[in-house]
Amino acid sequence: MEPRAIRLSRALYVIFLAGLVAVPALHAGMWLNLDWMLAQRGQGIVPDYMALVDIVNPPPAWARLLGFCVDAVPVAITAVIFWNLAQLFKGYARGEVFTKGSVARIRRTGQLMLLLACLGPFVAGALSIALTLGNPPGQRQFAIGLSSADFTQIITALVIMVAAYVMDQGRALSDDAELTV
């Protein structure tokens, strides 16, 4: 592999490792500082489902814990995706491009992204329940919806899965070329 590609792969390895630590840490920070997050509503840095929370009667501790547990599911999937990508680029930096391992990592990343995209609306719905369970009767809400971002994520995941299939064909050709004398 070219030195430039190796350098880029190493940089991406570090970025994805940093993301692997940062994403769970940011989400944990968000749930630990939920009151501050709720105060920032409308400034574009707070997830949409927080708009449902009654700011006068903020969710009790048990509702926050429930919300944290629900939110932990997509965060865990995202962390696995970042780990996969970090390992993929670590392999690229070592020159392992057309290998079974790298193809499997690309395929797994696509599958996990698809899972994440499909879970997204349900997680948002579950979070809306968790965060409004503490509201007075009549103000508890359940919100579910599909956004264009969900569709974009599904399409991206499918494209990655097709790319993994193409890479697998490339790997087979590479194996053939290696064993052609």
Partner: protein, 75 residues
């Protein structure tokens, strides 16, 4: 493997080492080892021609078809 590579026999007849053959043919000793051990998936006509020229033999002296025990062709 249905195709057996009898390169060892041809080399012994010519009293030539694998290293010398690899050098004469213009391939790496590693690639010649792949060919000798039957791990090769394909052989280029240019490589076969160079081997035959160096060893003064015919392709049939190096390559032999041996039917598999089950008789089914391999993928």
């Amino acid at each position: 493997m249905a195709i057996v590579v009898n390169l060892d026999v041809a080399l012994a007849r010519r009293k030539m080492s694998s290293k010398d053959l690899a050098e004469a043919v213009g391939i790496t000793p590693q690639n010649l080892s792949v060919l000798k051990t039957g791990r090769a998936k394909a052989i280029r006509f240019s490589t076969l021609e160079a081997i035959c020229r160096t060893l003064s033999c015919q392709p049939g002296d190096i390559l032999e078809y041996v039917p598999d025990a089950g008789g089914k062709p391999e993928e």
